[in-house]
């Protein structure tokens, strides 16, 4: 099994794309806001973009080596690239789209992706989820050694998305190809990838398992991108070995993390508990405030209290009889918060 090595350095409109990564039989997700250079990484690997400097190699076979003057055309790189809007050929039916990549396994792939009944259909007549399956089948028809997925879920509506995400996770686990996935959604990345790299302004800020990024975000951007609450303030030594963060918005919070100067205090919504009154529990951080919004997400409810978002079970929300505009106390433990430097 070959690993994919890549080093890229390329000027984009307002910043330099500068990325290095090595992939074995795993899925690596590059996650970042739009315009972070994510798609350019995929295009450079596939050979659709020639970076100013860089190297892309699958095991011993160099696809691109700007120093050695190697630059294989896309058709000679064993990649399966699934484009963001799928880029299905509008003038070919589903069978011919899939066969474009390779004729050998067409029937098997149509079957595998449950699109046999659509073989004669034109892409324009397919739903978003069906298009995605055709695009995957087409990319795999070539038997690629590397799989590249560009925002594979972004063209889908919320309902289809959840279903397709589960299918895709299953597929990736089954294929075990070096897979590079780019997305702007941390949840998608966490659900699909073994490792997640947060990319902003052309650079990977932090690379690790999703759980690592959640537990120890390297900076404020990564913290907020993973969905954490981020309270800005100034850190100073507090009582009992804790760090006190004097918040810009007023009040103080405590963390077990060390920090000084300008910091962001990150705490995840599921670490924040809600109560009707302040209780003598082990949490040292309490925020009394009005419930500003209640959003139900299946069996959970996201509750916005002052500067914090808390995520509690629907059952708890009912027990507390939460209503918008009423006062509640949000609390979290000093051990649940992370301090990240503010750039």
């Amino acid at each position: 099994m070959d690993t994919l090595d890549l080093t890229l350095d390329h000027p984009l409109r307002s910043f330099r794309l500068s990325v290095a990564a090595t992939l074995g039989r795993e899925t690596l997700a590059l996650v970042g806001p739009s315009g972070a250079g994510k798609s350019s990484v995929l295009r450079a690997i596939a050979g659709l973009l020639r970076p100013e400097r860089g190297r892309v190699a699958l095991g011993a076979e160099a696809w691109l080596d700007t120093e050695a003057g190697i630059d294989l055309p896309p058709e000679r790189r064993s990649v399966g690239l699934v484009f963001q809007e799928y880029a299905l050929f509008p003038h070919l039916d589903v069978r011919r789209n899939v066969a474009f990549g390779g004729r050998g396994r067409v029937d098997e792939l149509l079957e595998r992706f449950r699109i046999s009944h659509l073989a004669q259909a034109r892409p324009a007549d397919l739903s978003g989820g069906e298009r995605q399956r055709v695009a995957l089948a087409r990319a795999l028809a070539r038997d690629p050694a590397v799989l590249l997925l560009d925002e594979p879920l972004s063209a889908l509506d919320a309902h289809t998305r959840a279903v397709v995400r589960a299918e895709l996770a299953e597929l990736l686990a089954e294929l075990r190809l070096p897979t590079l996935l780019v997305t702007h959604d941390f949840e998608d990345a966490a659900a699909l990838a073994d490792r997640v790299g947060v990319i902003v302004g052309g650079r990977i800020l932090q690379l690790g398992a999703a759980a690592e990024l959640l537990a120890a975000p390297a900076d404020a951007f990564v913290a907020s991108f993973t969905g954490a609450n981020l309270l800005h303030g100034t850190a100073r030594p507090g009582p009992e070995g804790l760090t006190e963060v004097v918040l810009d918005a007023g009040g103080s919070m405590y963390s077990v993390d060390e920090g000084h100067g300008r910091v962001g205090l990150a705490v995840f919504p599921w670490e924040v508990a809600l109560a009707r009154a302040e209780s003598a529990d082990s949490a040292v951080n309490h925020v009394r405030g009005e419930v500003r919004s209640l959003v139900e997400l299946g069996n959970r409810v996201r509750v916005r209290v002052g500067p914090l978002t808390a995520e509690i079970t629907t059952a708890s929300a009912e027990r507390l009889a939460l209503r918008e505009g009423e006062d509640v106390v949000a609390s979290f433990k000093a051990t649940a918060s992370r301090l990240v430097p503010l750039g």
């Binding site: 295009r43 596939a46 050979g47 659709l48 055309p73 896309p74 058709e75 790189r77 990649v79 399966g80 690239l81 484009f83 809007e85 880029a87 050929f89 509008p90 003038h91 474009f100 990549g101 390779g102 034109r122 892409p123 324009a124 087409r138 990319a139 028809a141 070539r142």
Partner: protein, 274 residues
């Protein structure tokens, strides 16, 4: 439509349509059908039809075979000199036919730029059937080239990129993806080009002359027979009307499946401002 303005609109429409249709109808009803058919069987008319078919076929074959790849190269790339290149392609479109004729003579005539070289090779172009082909290619070719550039420009580069990542080399990508996706625009452009070539007159008469059976095309024969036998002129005119009408209809029937999908429609825009 009872308002005075409605009446003005209706009158204007009636006037425009009858003015445009009357001369065309007149060609067919001015003389009895039998005489029209006789006119078509006149040796001059038959010669003209054969010359036209032969030269038009050759000229259009060359235009398609050379113009299509050239338009693909220009249309699928962006580069600094592109606006100038496209302008150069458009220039013959707006030139008065007489200027085109004199230009062709100045380039390929006996005393023209390439005249001596061609002379050495034993080739003389002016006043031959090849000159008719040249005149049609020069005057009508740009209609196709310009439309074809626009058609290839509107092919979504993501789709050609996708073809490459699926293992297709540049030639297969062109044949299987770019060409079919651009076909609507190519067909429409080619119809314009064909019609313009069919009606070619000024450049041909200057560069190729009007020799019956050699360089006298249908358009030239209409003019020539106008003095000799008005009925034959009418008959040839009727032939040209029928061919042109058939062509227009054929273009309207060109499959337009490309427009049914989202990212890569191929709208026909011969003078697109891209």
């Amino acid at each position: 439509m009872r308002s005075p303005f409605g009446v003005v609109l209706a009158l204007a429409t009636a006037l425009a349509l009858s003015f445009l249709l009357l001369p065309i109808l007149a060609i067919f009803v001015d003389i009895p059908p039998g005489q029209l058919v006789d006119g078509m069987n006149d040796p001059a008319a038959i010669d003209a039809l054969l010359v036209t078919l032969k030269t038009t076929l050759i000229a259009n074959a060359v235009i398609l075979l050379v113009g299509t790849p050239a338009a693909y190269l220009i249309g699928s790339h962006s580069f600094r000199a592109k606006p100038f290149l496209v302008t150069a392609v458009e220039l013959p479109l707006v030139l008065p036919p007489a200027v085109a004729g004199i230009g062709l003579l100045a380039a390929f005539g006996r005393f023209g730029l390439l005249g001596e070289t061609l002379d050495v090779l034993g080739i003389s172009i002016p006043f031959t059937q090849l000159a008719v082909v040249f005149a049609v290619m020069f005057v009508a070719g740009p209609f196709y080239l310009r439309a074809a550039i626009s058609a290839f420009e509107s092919v979504d580069p993501t789709l050609t990129g996708a073809a490459r990542t699926l293992g297709a080399g540049p030639a297969r990508t062109f044949a299987r993806v770019a060409l079919p996706l651009a076909s609507g625009g190519l067909g429409a452009g080619w119809a314009l080009c064909f019609a313009r070539g069919l009606g070619e007159f000024g450049a041909t008469i200057m560069f190729a002359g009007s020799l019956q059976g050699v360089t006298q095309t249908l358009s030239l024969a209409v003019y020539e027979q106008f003095d000799v036998d008005f009925d034959v002129a009418l008959a040839i005119g009727a032939e040209l009307v029928v061919i042109s009408a058939f062509l227009l209809l054929a273009v309207k029937l060109v499959p337009k499946w490309t427009r049914s999908t989202s990212p890569s429609t191929t709208p026909f825009a011969p003078f697109g401002s891209r």
